[in-house]
Amino acid sequence: MSLSSKNSKKKIKTEEEVQGLESYIRDFWQFLPLPVCYINPVNIILDVDEVFSYFSGYQPAEIIGEDLGKLFVNPKKVEEIKKEILEKEIISNRELVFLTKDKKEIPVSISAIQRKDEKGNFIGYFLSLADISESKKFQEKLEKEIEKKTADLKEKIGELERINKIMTGRELKMIELKEKIKQLEKQLKS
């Protein structure tokens, strides 16, 4: 087999591998059940999966190229999170408030992982979101219930204290009266 024929076969094999990779990446991004995006070091969104597009209300072409901060109620926190990713390489469960295209605010939990090039330089990060509105609602409901129960309990304690005060006052009065009776009896006897 000639060298050029060998090279040609090698090239075809590499192309097939890359095409396999292309199909794998497409399928994987379509399958991901979570909103995921890829961000570059200057916080520009470079890629989003379909779920992210659905979740945010933006078409990929509308949101790719935009600053990530645009998608959150407090963009300063996004900067803080980026600093944390740079330091720790991987972070999870940071809470932020997401802002959809129609300005709906959704509490989310964020996880992210840093990407590096072959020389170890920071080249961006993957970021995933989890909608925590339901657990937030449940937490708020729980907190309200606890607050209500605490208020009820405080009221009951107050009532008990009042009764206790009355009872104690009555008992003291009884003791005082008994003492007076004793003194009167003594006076009568003498």
Binding site: Q19, I25, N40, V42, L46, P60, A61, G65
Partner: protein, 198 residues
Amino acid sequence: MINKEELENLMKIKGEVKGVVFQTDADYILKKEGEQGLKKLEKRIKELGYPIDYRKGKALDLHPIGLRVISLLLIKDTFDWSDEEIRNMGYTAPTTSFIVKLLMKFFVSFMKFMSVVPGYWEKHYTAGNLEVINLNDKTKDATLHLKDIKIHPLFCLYLEGYFERMYQLVVGKEGRCRETKCMLKGDPYHEYVLKLKK
């Protein structure tokens, strides 16, 4: 109106293009015209006898470079789109291109990206050479020269939109791209000037 002779002449141009450009065309048609729109375009392509497969074509397969422009011309004609819409197609392409995804590691900074621009062109086309002429990291101004490729004014416009979006992806701000020189107007190369919007 499409002129068959013009299309045939385009097919004679030397050079090849990667199939990824037809994938990005198809994505844009689906968004703008829906499934029916893409079917309409496929029907026209088939009738004219050009081998463009918008659905099953592989991103890295090579095709005659003339097909790149034929696709743009037929899209414009089929949907009666303006030149501005074709520019917008170019502007949208980097957001869906598989090759752009493969090259994301270079989207880290303005200077880093500009240093790989010539290779970036080669990843898409076997004809033409893209060079970075002026570069200013402070102002983020850049000038690109595209040489040895003379295809069609619609392609120049498409590239103007394409370069504009690529530029915005690396600078993270709104920018503009203008073709200030064009080989089709007698200039020795195509010149694209990239600047931040003021």
